[in-house]
């Protein structure tokens, strides 16, 4: 953009910068968040976000257009060596497909988050996220500053904001674009359940949450296609004994009990 002359001086540049106040973008956080929320943000397709969340926070991810794909990684805030383990999450619960009631487990036999609501039912625990190499092959570019950013590149940036490095990034989960395993073991991309679905995650420990909103790696569409992701979070309570989820399965109950034992020993509850 050509200069107008206004920014020739520090005083003019300051006035110019401050004049931006109130400008709205299609993808941006609302700060401060609206009443009742602790986080409200729209993440563009190809964008990422991240947040440290208190235990008991309910995080809602919504896909207004049917083209979002929320790739998610979870770490215990401040203790990132305890992190999401996708293999344990599916193996311990004898279930590859995420749905309401599924627990997202750490590698330490504890619950990181509970999937307490799900109106989509089309998610993926197996295929992880996209890479710069594969996006370059498929779309011509996979860099974070390019037109078709890869999920791993965005996770690397989000992780860095929390002092984490690429070696801290395990396989991720993704929401809103489904994959199913055929009887012969092949993977079928079944895509979206349509516009207007959402999932709600309840933080069962203090969490660092990384989110990359990029096309599913098996999405067959030749163009890089990803819609906006609506992120909101509000204070709520962690799952407690007596909640039907606590006793839904013997494996889940032991995961909650391990989590409670750990937090009690640390003096957190």
């Amino acid at each position: 953009m050509a200069t107008t002359g206004q920014t020739r001086t520090t005083y003019g540049a300051r006035d110019h910068a401050r004049a931006q106040q109130g400008v709205r973008a299609t993808a941006m956080p609302k700060v401060p968040p609206p009443d009742g929320l602790v986080w409200a943000e729209t993440v563009a397709g190809g964008g990422y976000t991240h947040k440290a969340l208190a235990r008991g926070t309910e995080l809602r991810l919504a896909d207004p257009t049917g083209d979002a794909c929320a790739h998610v990684l979870l770490f215990v805030a401040g203790r990132p060596w305890e992190r999401l383990n996708a293999a344990d999450t599916v193996k311990v619960q004898w279930q590859a497909y995420l749905g309401a009631g599924h627990l997202l487990l750490s590698d330490q036999g504890r619950v990181l988050a509970s999937l307490v609501a799900d109106t989509s039912g089309r998610h993926d625990t197996l295929c992880g996220t996209s890479t710069a190499a594969r996006n370059t092959a498929r779309y011509g570019d996979g860099s974070p500053h390019g037109p078709s950013p890869a999920g791993r590149e965005l996770f690397t940036l989000a992780a860095a904001k929390h002092g984490l490095e690429p070696r801290d990034l395990p396989p991720s989960l993704s929401f809103f674009q489904g994959v199913r395993v055929e009887p012969d073991g092949s993977l079928e991309f079944i895509g979206s359940a349509g516009p207007g679905t959402s999932v709600t995650l309840r933080a069962e420990q203090p969490l660092t949450v990384l989110v990359a909103n990029v096309p599913h790696p098996l999405d067959p569409r030749p163009a890089y296609t990803c819609g906006p992701l609506e992120v909101t979070a509000r204070r709520a309570a962690p799952t407690a004994p007596g909640d039907p989820l606590w006793d839904a399965t013997p494996e889940g109950r032991r995961a909650f009990e391990n989590t409670a034992e750990h937090l009690t020993a640390r003096g957190i509850v």
């Binding site: 990132p80 060596w81 383990n85 996708a86 293999a87 344990d88 599916v90 193996k91 311990v92 004898w94 279930q95 590859a96 497909y97 487990l105 590698d107 330490q108 036999g109 504890r110 197996l126 295929c127 992880g128 996220t129 890479t131 710069a132 190499a133 594969r134 791993r152 490095e165 690429p166 070696r167 801290d168 990034l169 395990p170 396989p171 991720s172 199913r180 395993v181 009887p183 012969d184 073991g185 092949s186 993977l187 790696p217 098996l218 494996e251 032991r254 995961a255 391990n258």
Partner: protein
């Protein structure tokens, strides 16, 4: 040629072998870890000596351990969950680390991960807490190379049978392996391989009886066609 492969003892440090282009054969005892640095072009054959013995397996770029096996990238690349001949073990940067060049078993798992003391408490109960587990093997062996917990990710389980039902139910079921079956991998770049000969006794992945497996490292062919 100069190669670096595992020494005869399964838990000793990586040592240079002689310059002979002969395979190095190591029997890994039941429940033990093993590791080796394999130059590009060399082959590793894993033999299920007694049948139905899960072999938990991770692979890293020998020169940059942050470039490591990625089960998701491997599934993306091949479009299916089972590993067999032709499967390329991909890194998290979607680059090839090793290729399965021969497999007399038929299929292997990479969605079930490794057993751990911690997950055993969920899967079976707290009475299993004192039992040995693959993650402890990975941690012990990985520490010899400066690897720690952050470096462990979803792994390959050679000879383990994990079907996924139509409703998404999955689990470790009776194996399809048998004594003497083999899988052979070619290193596509210089790699570090970490292995846990799985000690699990609470599910059928080892036929409820962990047994030894054999590791055969064959040097890369030399330029004049010698070697293997």
């Amino acid at each position: 040629m100069s190669t670096r492969t595992a020494a005869v003892q399964p838990t000793t440090a990586v040592q240079p072998t002689t310059t002979d282009d002969v395979p190095t054969v190591t029997d890994v005892p039941a429940r033990a870890p093993w590791s080796a640095v394999l130059p590009a072009g060399s082959h590793l054959t894993i033999t299920d000596l007694h049948g139905n013995q899960a072999v938990d397996f991770l692979v890293y770029d020998a020169h940059d351990h942050a470039v490591r096996y990625s089960a998701p990238d491997t599934l993306q690349a091949q479009g299916g969950i089972f590993l067999t001949t032709g499967s390329v073990l991909m890194s998290g940067e979607h680059t090839p680390l090793m290729t399965v060049v021969a497999d007399t078993c038929g299929r292997h798992d990479t969605i079930g991960g490794a057993c751990s003391k911690e997950s055993n408490t969920l899967r079976y109960g707290h009475h299993t807490w004192s039992q040995h587990a693959c993650v402890d093997n990975f941690l012990a062996e990985g520490a010899r190379y400066g690897l720690g917990k952050r470096d462990l990710v979803s792994n390959v389980n050679w000879y383990m049978n994990v079907p996924v039902e139509e409703d998404g139910t999955l689990g470790i079921v009776d194996g399809i392996s048998a004594p003497g079956l083999e899988v052979t991998l070619r290193a596509e770049t210089d790699v570090l391989v970490l292995v846990s000969n799985c000690p699990q006794i609470n599910n059928p992945c080892n036929g409820f009886d962990p047994t030894p497996v054999r590791m055969t490292v064959t040097p890369a062919p030399t330029a004049d066609g010698a070697g293997r």
